[in-house]
């Protein structure tokens, strides 16, 4: 009963906070209106100790006891304002993340800064679900980077999550915090997966098995393992001597053009097709092939290089 009430209150409170923190484009400056402050549990314990000290000082009519109790009480009150002042005027200068594949984590790099002369202490940035450990100090005229990881489940765009900036500086008796939602997003490419082999280059001058047979003969070098590489192509002996998993590359795979065609993947679900195409794009790019991507409404390439690679993946993410 109480638990249910508590959950409803929490939901209502969360909704209220969400309404109050519309997403906005960085830089975002924390204003007084956005700041919340409450005593921590340790602050409650400290208040209890102060109460006992006050009773003791009264009982013993002890002037120094009163003086200490009042000074500590005043410290707690003043520390509340310091905790508040520590966050007011703090800025989120930017929030940026590189595109990721679905299933990975989007890592938003948050830049904190401020214009005041005093170093802002022990600021923690989190999403509310998992903590980020120790806080950072933001010196005057400096920026401090904090990385917020958020799981990217589905392809498309992922927005920067709502951020909770908080600090228990200075005494740990009060917690000041604020919610901000920086308007920032990044692409989530489809998860590279699939069972189909790369299509044969240039309209199938060779069949797949011939390609494989010859490929095994003409070893060209090693490259690092990327998601989507078949485990069968790993060169275990070479990998053992290196920090990375290494993939055998074959000379015949370079310098050819191949078409990654959406229509060739009939009989699969839509998302599975996109995943397969993504895997192909990733592999083709890493093998240094010239490849073109053929989507229902668009065509890319044939080309190679990081711009082409990103255009293809972007199209797949947003299709």
């Amino acid at each position: 009963m109480l638990g249910a009430l508590g959950r409803r209150l929490e939901t209502a409170f969360g909704d209220y906070i969400r309404r109050r923190t519309p997403s906005s484009r960085p830089p975002i400056r924390l204003s007084r209106r956005r700041l919340y402050i409450l005593p921590t549990r340790s602050g409650g314990i400290f208040a209890l100790v102060l109460l006992v000290m006050l009773l003791g000082a009264t009982n013993y009519s002890n002037s120094l006891g009163f003086a200490l109790t009042f000074w500590l009480g005043a410290l707690a009150l003043v520390s509340m304002h310091h905790a508040h002042g520590n966050l007011v005027g703090l800025r989120i200068d930017s929030a940026q993340a590189r595109p990721v594949f679905a299933g990975d984590e989007a890592r938003f790099e948050i830049m904190l800064g401020h214009d005041s002369r005093r170093t802002r202490r022990a600021i923690r940035v989190g999403t509310g679900e998992h903590e980020t450990g120790a806080g950072v100090d933001v010196a005057p005229d400096a920026t401090a980077p904090i990385t917020i990881a958020t799981p990217a489940a589905a392809r498309g765009r992922i927005a920067c999550p709502r951020l909770r900036l908080d600090s228990i500086y200075p005494l740990g008796l009060f917690r000041a915090w604020s919610w901000v939602t920086p308007r920032a997003e990044t692409l989530v490419y489809p998860r590279p997966s699939g069972t189909q082999r790369l299509p044969a280059p240039d309209g199938g001058r060779r069949n797949a098995s011939a390609s494989r047979d010859r490929g095994h003969d003409e070893f060209a070098g090693h490259r690092r393992h990327v998601p989507g590489d078949s485990i069968r192509h790993v060169d275990w002996k070479a990998s053992a001597r290196s920090d990375d998993l290494l993939i055998r590359e074959h000379s015949d795979q370079a310098g050819r053009t191949l078409w990654l065609d959406y229509n060739r993947l009939a009989g699969m679900t839509y998302e599975a097709r996109l995943s397969q195409l993504t895997l192909w794009v990733v592999n083709a790019e890493h093998m240094g092939l010239r490849y073109g991507l053929n989507l229902p409404d668009e065509q890319f390439g044939p080309d190679h290089g990081s711009d082409h690679y990103r255009s293809c993946l972007r199209a797949l993410a947003l299709l």
Partner: protein, 662 residues
């Protein structure tokens, strides 16, 4: 919300080392009054904790911790026979705090530890409230603030020291306001333990036997400090009235419970000599208030007994400041109530037959009470009586006879006791009055110091038509005692405390100067309790709790608002003094707004190059801006023209959000 509360983790070994140091420093003054074995045990445990933290060893397990706590409990119980009470309680708290250092698994453990360390700090003031303890308070508060910051923010010792000092200064006015205005309730609330307060106190007691006042006179301490408004009476008239002793039995004079039921004294004030004296009385653990000569009124909650002594409603357990109005010309009890007369002439059935016989002989020879009194004083004066701090022992049952006829050496209690006995034996109402006599002017400040060494006892005799008359038989033997103090009147004063012997040398002056500082401290700080607070509030125009509380709330709100404003002013945006830098910052801000913020590690050139790569449409502008900026900012001789060009260019620079097709 619990999941939304990220907190710092468990204290690191380094932080545990600092926590240990904090506790050791705060517990240090306790070593002066706790038993040696407790201090030694705490020191050993603290050293063990420090070594554990220093070597980064893991914390002990739960079972071991529990065994240690139970052991500490048992040690205190065995050593003190109890776990409550002042010394035992503080010892237990100290040991438990040391053992809490073994249990530092979370930030909250550390916070609880520091909070309880504050409590350990306050217990020191139960043992002493001297000026030195004020220094302990300041240092201790700073230490706990520092430690709070250390465990909560982990920002390094130097910034933490600075920040804690800043917090302390900001908190001081609020604390002062709370100290003055927070409603004080008269204590005690739950009663004091038997060993409360500073140990080894001395002073007057409610009984007097041979040697008891001489004992008090041997102690160094200050009994009271007095401030006269108006002329100060001469030394021989400075009698400070304390408890009156009515009952004599087996050599001891006692205040007597039954005497407290007697009708209150009736005082007729002749003349207009009323003196107002402000008195700061050291704690006595007794209920009487000391006052000059004949107290008429006081602002302390009290009543006046049949002996005309002021009796406070509560025991004086702390320094107490009160104002008295005293008369030096008066008639005390012009008519003696019969119950009082009966009490004032009562003697035990037997004992001291020679003294009784002497009194009877005088009574038979002459019927006038005044004449008998003079005969007794003449006996002290003319026969070889001596005034000494270390008189020979007298028998318990025969104390008066032994003194009057055998030893003839005594301190004031011998003379006052014997004189009163003889008066009663002659049928004259008489009683012993104890208190102080004399006192000396302080070197600094307009006040007088009365020491325990000034403790005195004299006699009051009731004479028809004159009421109770003060008779000081000691003055008959050693007139100097009353005029110049104990030191001048004793032939060999080596046994007296230093302060009552030496006067005039430098060390004495330094001591008196220090006493002056202490007196101010006592008068305005330590004596600030419910009564003084009411008076101060009255002066401030805040009489009544409603007004005081309103003023307190308003004051605290205003002070906190000022602190908030000050912090806000410090957190304001500070524009860079150089207009060139400001213009460059504007350029960076505009680029950041379209999604290209400058990385903290990027210099202007690297930044410009990155923008040019990502946005070829902005390349020309960026190249120019970066070029001008670097020339203006880093060139040996910047010129005004370049500066104007750069600022104008920077102001005009408005990059489009999306790439412009060229």
């Amino acid at each position: 919300m619990a999941a939304l509360q990220p907190v710092p983790g468990a204290p690191t070994p380094r932080q545990r080392l600092r926590l240990t140091a904090c506790l050791a420093l705060i517990a240090l003054p306790h070593a002066f009054h706790l038993p040696l074995w407790i201090s030694a045990l705490a020191a050993v445990l603290l050293t063990w904790q420090a070594v554990t933290a220093w070597r980064q060893r893991p914390l002990p397990g739960r079972v071991f911790r529990f065994a240690l706590a139970a052991g500490a409990f048992g040690v205190v119980l065995a050593g003190f026979g109890r776990i409550n009470g002042q010394e035992a309680g503080v010892s237990l708290l100290l040991l438990m705090l040391v053992l809490k250092l073994c249990e530092m698994h979370s930030h909250r453990d550390a916070m609880v530890f520091v909070s309880l360390t504050c409590f350990l700090l306050v217990t020191q003031f139960l043992f002493s409230q001297s000026l030195a303890m004020a220094a302990v308070l300041v240092v201790g508060t700073w230490l706990v603030t520092l430690t709070f910051i250390d465990v909560s923010a982990g920002i390094g010792t130097r910034p933490a020291a600075r920040d804690s000092a800043r917090l302390l200064v900001h908190a001081l006015p609020v604390a002062a306001l709370l100290f003055v205005l927070f409603p004080r309730i008269p204590g005690p609330i739950w009663g004091l333990p038997a060993d409360a307060g500073a140990s080894a106190r001395s002073g007057l007691s409610d009984q007097m036997s041979p040697g008891s006042i001489a004992n008090v006179a041997l102690s160094q301490g200050v009994a009271l400090r007095a401030q006269f408004s108006g002329p100060v009476p001469p030394a021989q008239a400075r009698y400070w009235r304390g408890p009156v002793l009515w009952d004599f039995d087996r050599g001891t004079w006692r205040r007597g419970d039954a005497a407290q039921q007697l009708p209150s004294a009736e005082i007729d004030v002749d003349g207009s000599r009323i003196r107002q004296v402000d008195i700061t009385l050291e704690p006595t653990r007794h209920d009487w208030l000391i006052a000059l000569d004949m107290p008429l009124a006081t602002d302390h909650r009290s009543r006046q007994t049949a002996g005309a002594t002021l009796i406070a409603d509560d025991d004086i357990d702390q320094k107490t400041r009160y104002t008295t109005r005293s008369a030096t010309d008066y008639t005390l009890d012009p008519r003696l109530p019969s119950a009082t007369r009966q009490r004032a002439t009562a003697l035990p059935i037997g004992g001291n037959p020679r003294a009784r016989a002497l009194a009877q002989q005088w009574r038979n020879g002459d019927t006038s009470s005044a004449a008998i009194m003079d005969k007794a004083l003449a006996m002290f004066r003319e026969q070889p009586f001596a005034y000494t701090l270390s008189p020979p022992r007298t028998g318990r049952e025969t104390s008066i006879d032994d003194f009057l006829f055998e030893t003839r050496e005594g301190f004031c209690e011998h003379y006052a006791g014997a004189f009163t006995f003889v008066m009663r034996a002659a049928g004259i109402p008489a009683r012993v009055v104890t208190g102080y006599q004399g006192g000396e002017r302080a070197l600094m400040g307009d006040y007088w110091v009365v020491r325990n060494a000034d403790a005195h006892a004299w006699t009051e005799v009731w004479l028809a038509g004159r009421g109770w008359v003060r008779v000081d038989p000691t003055a008959a033997v050693a007139p100097d005692r009353v005029e110049s103090g104990v030191a001048a009147s004793l032939s060999n004063n080596a046994a007296l405390p230093y302060m009552s012997r030496a006067s005039g040398n430098t060390w004495y002056r330094v001591q008196m100067l220090w006493d002056g500082i202490n007196a101010t401290w006592d008068r305005w700080f330590l004596a600030y309790g419910p009564q003084l607070q009411q008076r101060v509030l009255g002066v401030l125009g805040l009489a009544g709790w409603t007004r005081a509380l309103l003023a307190l709330t308003a004051g605290v709100v205003v002070l906190l608002a000022l602190i908030s404003l000050w912090l806000g002013w410090q957190a304001r945006r500070v524009p860079h003094p150089d207009p060139v830098v400001r213009a460059w910052q504007r350029v960076c801000a505009r680029l950041a707004a379209i999604g290209y913020p400058r990385e903290p590690h990027e210099g202007p050139q690297a930044y410009g190059a990155r923008i040019a790569r990502a946005r070829p449409d902005l390349a020309t502008d960026m190249r120019l801006l970066v070029d001008l900026y670097i020339r203006q900012r880093y060139a040996p001789r910047p010129d005004a023209e370049t500066e104007q060009t750069f600022i104008a260019r920077a102001a005009a620079f408005r990059p489009a959000r999306t790439r412009q097709q060229e």
